[in-house]
Point group: C2
Chain length 472, copies 2
Amino acid sequence: MTQKIIKLTVRDIRFPTSLELHGSDAMHTDPDYSVAYVVIETDQGMRGYGLTFTVGRGTEIVVCAVEALSALVVGKSLEEIVSDFRGFYRLLSSDGQMRWIGPEKGVIQLATAAVLNSVWDLWARMEGKPLWKLLVDMEPRKLISCIDFRYITDALTEQEALEILEKAEAGKQQRVDQMLKEGYPAYTTSCAWLGYSDQLLKQLCTDALSEGWTKFKVKVGADLEDDIRRCSLIRQMIGPNNTLMIDANQRWDVGEAITWVTKLAEYKPLWIEEPTCPDDILGHAAISKALAPLGIGVASGEQVRADSLLKFFHQCLSSRLLLMLCMLFLWALQCHNRVMFKQFLQAEALQFIQIDSCRMGSVNENLAVLLMAHKFKVPVCPHAGGVGLCELVQHLILFDYISVSASLDDRMCEFVDHLHEHFISPVVIKNAHYMPPKDPGYSCEMLESSVQRYQYPQGEVWKQFKKQSLKD
Amino acid sequence: MTQKIIKLTVRDIRFPTSLELHGSDAMHTDPDYSVAYVVIETDQGMRGYGLTFTVGRGTEIVVCAVEALSALVVGKSLEEIVSDFRGFYRLLSSDGQMRWIGPEKGVIQLATAAVLNSVWDLWARMEGKPLWKLLVDMEPRKLISCIDFRYITDALTEQEALEILEKAEAGKQQRVDQMLKEGYPAYTTSCAWLGYSDQLLKQLCTDALSEGWTKFKVKVGADLEDDIRRCSLIRQMIGPNNTLMIDANQRWDVGEAITWVTKLAEYKPLWIEEPTCPDDILGHAAISKALAPLGIGVASGEQVRADSLLKFFHQCLSSRLLLMLCMLFLWALQCHNRVMFKQFLQAEALQFIQIDSCRMGSVNENLAVLLMAHKFKVPVCPHAGGVGLCELVQHLILFDYISVSASLDDRMCEFVDHLHEHFISPVVIKNAHYMPPKDPGYSCEMLESSVQRYQYPQGEVWKQFKKQSLKD
């Protein structure tokens, strides 16, 4: 029986997180974590749920973009879509009129992600499987048919992608079993947002350590003295053997990044994330190179970890080897499409790949990036947090391990412990690992009560704020 | 007397150009040329007009984004804004919540352009000058204070920018006089859109030649046989001494671009514009390199022009010199911000810079790009056409010649002869040159009658289409 999509609704859901400075960083100082929340419905009464993450103002613009895209979805059947998913992806990302306001970037790309996430959710539900299992069970050729290779064939051909997937067939079942038993390793960003007091930071670290967390990320970039104090504090709290990462959220120019990070080197961060503009491929490459000499100075005592990393980089340049020894790595977070990731890889501008389930074009584009990362031998460590990003991206990283990389070395998935209570099937973390979701779908269906309460501006929560502010 | 901005309105104006295939190219096959049209109003009754160009569907999303930005504008005085224009630019482009849905790209960047264009228009009107003259008369330090140097200091410092402007002070008045007398050289794209028949193309070429046009651009990329026929036809029409350029509007992958352009080389195009994804800096660099050997083969007979170009590139790599000899050059059109342009320049990935008055962050960001292009010795040849792009960008290229580059060699500004009749002060073309505007402002005020007639969907023109389609 075919499932014809007959309806698409989108709502603007905002959580007033700015009141408690959850999610604050050097560039986003007052975020209200939000989503554009999409529900599609078929003529057989089936539903698919999708979302894209935003941080407050502007969510209404993404909602408007989803509404514009809905004409390309409503009226199509799920079978028609998935029989040529590449074509459908192209239809959405390359509409002859709408691509002008992107293309494949910014608002229209976020909206594309929300819509396609709902389609993938519907597909997985139809098959009665969690999304990661749908992907893991899919024939390599079928997986490849979901990817738009336009603009990336100079880095990865269809044939190469197919070979990667076919090679990883060996041992798949063991990896599935392993994941079901142990879960996928995670790190936490919940302890050290910029707006948190030292006391709160200490308390959260203590709690996290007792829950088994060993990898911690701290936000930096607003004030150097403050960063030094906070990095020192958190390094003291977690001890020398746990992992610390730092994240500047695009705060610096290229030269500034080099100076600043040099001053934080003594706290031995594993990586510096988003040191500068997310569009600056060559800037990231320059920072990589410039930090290399520093590596020689601060590398002693970190050889064990460095050795374990070496196997991933045996083909890379000497400057990169030096960089590894100093335990400073560059990431890119807000990379908006496969073409940007392609170049970051080609330019050796980052040493870890941070995919995002909502900034790029859904599963389709993430598949392309996972395969390119594998070819370039760069480990993938997803970005998560926000609202629903953990719920979504866990599926992609499970697929990466089981069907692409077959490796856990120096791989981990971000975890932030916020707002999971609003989801029907929230993430399950055990001993600092993501446990594979079991419910069918892509895990981003929200409680209808939450959706109604937090809908902006008409939800109860926002109405109360308005009343209060009128009183004040 | 201060001018406090008390109101901002934005309207969705669409022209049904798809009916006649004006503006059709390999990626935008059915464009309805459109604008998000902004009017700001002060408490003293002064108005500023701004717009950003779009191609139909999706304009409503840009309108929504302008509305979101308006809260950052309304309530401010013009004096407050221009006394710290860099700060105001940063306020709009880096709002703590809205930057997430960019940053500085796509819908939110187009909306920023529309809003800032209206502010620059208001400023020029207040000074009683056309915008180009406002800029030309402005102190170098004041000009610099309008630019946000974030993320570009590794390519251009404030001090370097200041020195460029100060050096160009010499001879400024002569260049002003020259422009007033002769105008700025233009080329035409009006003759050869993809959707035009051969007969129409011939007729338009004949007309253009008789009007004094010597430089022609043709759209390619949809079908190779078709491109060969059309390039051959237009080269026949314009003869061997006039200039032909080709534009693929992002149609190809990197390898495909090389193969395809090789087959069009015999028609001696001066450049290939947008061969691939506008985000692909390294791809453009690779195409540049790969086409170089071809240059040796097809270069004979073009030495005169090549010689005139050589002076601009005396410091560049040998592969680039070879490329020049073959008269094939790469451009980038849809470059969305200064950070992308910075990298295209750093990577030597393009040999001409194509600024746009509406895709980047208005005059402020264009100033940064003009100065970087000058430092990297790459000539600027603006993108125009659409609705109002010619009206706007002529001001920027006049400023470039008078106050930055002081050179016309291998520089020209695109011209498309569409939709100028809707503007209060339309461009004036004489003998294939842009004549400097004389009316105060930024030349993008539209006739209120046009605005009302073409407003989407409630304007008369669109209502009639609706009626008609209901009948059909």
